[in-house]
């Protein structure tokens, strides 16, 4: 009993400490990332224009190369909620029309967050999005869209 009672607060402290460490991860948010040589900031409207084929230029004049995460990824849903404001079904039909009328190509789909990070870090003019907790200095955060 004495041993246990001594251990319980210890476990609690450990659990609390773990929770405190985890809390920044729990509040993971969507960030718009660009190539390290890309613009320092970009507006939500500019990102939206690139992802809805209304513009093909980054704010610094570079030709934009857009990447997106595969359907089913929670960051993709978040991106579509906050930025494009369009459903996956709408985007599919929209891009099939754009492609078949020669107006443009959809963003290249990356199957994972690490794939997204490495392709954005190595492609000039690249723009993509990530969970903020996965960002490191190989890419530049250009926007943290607020809901």
């Amino acid at each position: 009993m004495r041993i246990l009672s001594r251990k319980v607060p210890g476990r609690l402290t450990l659990a609390l400490a773990t929770l405190m460490m985890l809390s920044p991860i729990a509040s993971a948010e969507l960030v718009i990332i660009v190539h390290p040589g890309g613009p320092d900031s970009i507006t939500r409207q500019q990102v939206r224009d690139i992802y809805l084929n209304r513009s093909s230029q980054m704010p610094d004049g570079q030709r934009a190369v857009a990447f997106e995460l595969a359907p089913g990824n929670s960051m993709r849903d978040e991106f579509n909620d906050l930025i494009t404001e369009r459903s996956d079904a709408w985007l599919k039909a929209f891009w099939s029309r754009q492609v078949l009328t020669g107006k443009g190509q959809p963003p290249t789909e990356m199957s994972s967050a690490s794939g997204m990070k490495s392709v954005v870090s190595s492609t000039l003019g690249a723009i993509g999005y990530l969970d903020s907790t996965l960002v490191d200095d190989s890419v530049k955060v250009a926007l943290t869209p607020q809901p």
């Binding site: 078949l100 020669g102 199957s111 392709v119």
Partner: protein
């Protein structure tokens, strides 16, 4: 791009042996850190492979579209050529589009389409060269879609449309689709809107079904212009085109006039906020001679509710030159008709949509309603058998890839 390729090329020989080596080792012995590094390397390999495939794809790109469906009418009036015993052929088509990059801003576009109602004969629907200038100007030459309607460019791409079929009142009176010639387009980009203007000119020589036979349709000295303004929510469109038109042949079974002055005028409007959609077009055709001068319009309202988009369409067509055919057998071409459609599109899986549609047509007045079955009945001497309403049920499956 050069930079990234160089980097990947340099790291290729290093990654492969490491990955091979790693997979031959027992993984549990790896620390989490090493496992993470391995995952990262694998990701980079994937990325590299993707980029290599993409650069190969940038030169040649293939896309396709497919539709099939079943239509059944309550009588043989012939709305959209449907009867009580419809088959699967009419709505079935397969299209393949290839885009070949010839330079950074120049490409060749080919579109081949096989249609079920043409015995699946493959036809070159589009075949043009395009050059885009950095200034926003684009020139094209070759065989292209006649840009008369808002949906002209996506006319046969069912997956790109909400409807089970484009409203017949507006889309059917012009019996041809693609012409041979050239066009020049310029896009003016404003703050949050854009205006595209296009001038086109060429020649069209094709065949069309009319009064139960196949007739030649020729549009000579065809030219026109379109203007399209959009703020990406609302779109307004205007079009004017003219030509010298010959439909049928002198002494042939059908002759609806040779080298007659023909004009086309159209206005379009659309709204799409991702949830609500609205589309409307108003068109007028004026052709000297017996070919029908028609005014037509439609309006569609739809609402996207996750994967399902119910829609309502009302359309109307009326010929304005019935006096020119008075007392001749060509009177069967007189048209007056209203149609109401209720349907929905269901995005059942990525790139595949299914559509269900009920269309009711009425208000033919003393005409055949412009419906092929009714026209045949009159020409066969049975005007009493003409139907004065018709209902059409359609199930359609569309895909794009």
């Amino acid at each position: 791009m050069k930079y990234s390729l160089f980097r990947f090329r340099k790291s290729t020989p290093a990654i492969l042996p490491v990955t091979l080596l790693a997979s031959s080792l027992s993984l549990p012995a790896f620390s989490q850190d090493q496992q993470q590094r391995l995952d990262q390397m694998e990701e980079r390999l994937n990325t590299m492979q993707k980029q290599m495939t993409e650069s190969a794809l940038e030169k040649v790109r293939f896309n396709g579209f497919f539709s099939t469906g079943y239509t059944r009418a309550t009588n043989d009036a012939g709305y959209d050529d449907a009867t009580e015993q419809s088959d699967l052929q009419t709505l079935s088509l397969f299209g393949l589009q290839g885009t070949f990059a010839l330079g950074r801003n120049t490409d060749a576009v080919l579109q081949l389409v096989s249609r079920g109602n043409e015995d699946w004969d493959t036809e070159l629907e589009w075949g043009y060269l395009r050059h885009q200038f950095r200034t926003g100007t684009e020139v094209r030459a070759g065989k292209m879609r006649l840009p008369l309607f808002m949906e002209s460019e996506t006319l046969e791409i069912g997956y790109g449309q909400t409807w089970a079929r484009p409203p017949e009142a507006v889309y059917d009176p012009v019996p041809v689709r693609s012409y041979l010639g050239g066009d020049l387009a310029h896009t003016f980009n404003f703050d949050s809107s854009s205006l595209q203007t296009r001038l086109f000119a060429g020649h069209l020589d094709d065949e069309a079904d009319s009064l139960g036979t196949v007739v030649d349709v020729e549009l000579r000295n065809l030219n026109g212009l379109t203007a399209n303004w959009t703020n990406y929510l609302w779109t307004f469109r205007g079009v004017y085109a003219r030509a010298e038109s010959s439909v049928g042949s002198v002494g042939g079974p059908v002759d609806l006039g040779q080298d007659e002055k023909a004009e086309f005028m159209g206005l379009g409007l659309s709204y799409d906020d991702g949830a609500w959609l609205l589309m409307s077009e108003l068109t007028r055709i004026e052709v000297d001679g017996e070919f029908q001068d028609t005014d037509s319009a439609y309006i569609t309202v739809g609402r996207r509710i996750s994967e399902v988009t119910p829609y309502l369409t009302a359309s109307w067509i009326e010929s304005q030159d019935n006096y020119e055919r008075d007392g001749t057998p060509l009177e069967v071409l007189d048209v007056r008709r209203q149609a109401y459609s209720l349907g929905f599109r269901w995005d059942m899986m990525p790139s595949v949509a299914m559509k269900f549609d009920w269309t009711h047509a009425r208000g033919f007045s003393s005409t055949t309603g412009g419906l092929t079955g009714n026209q045949q009945k009159v020409l066969n001497g049975n005007p009493g058998d003409v139907s004065d309403t018709t209902d059409l049920y359609t199930i359609r499956l569309d895909a794009a890839f």
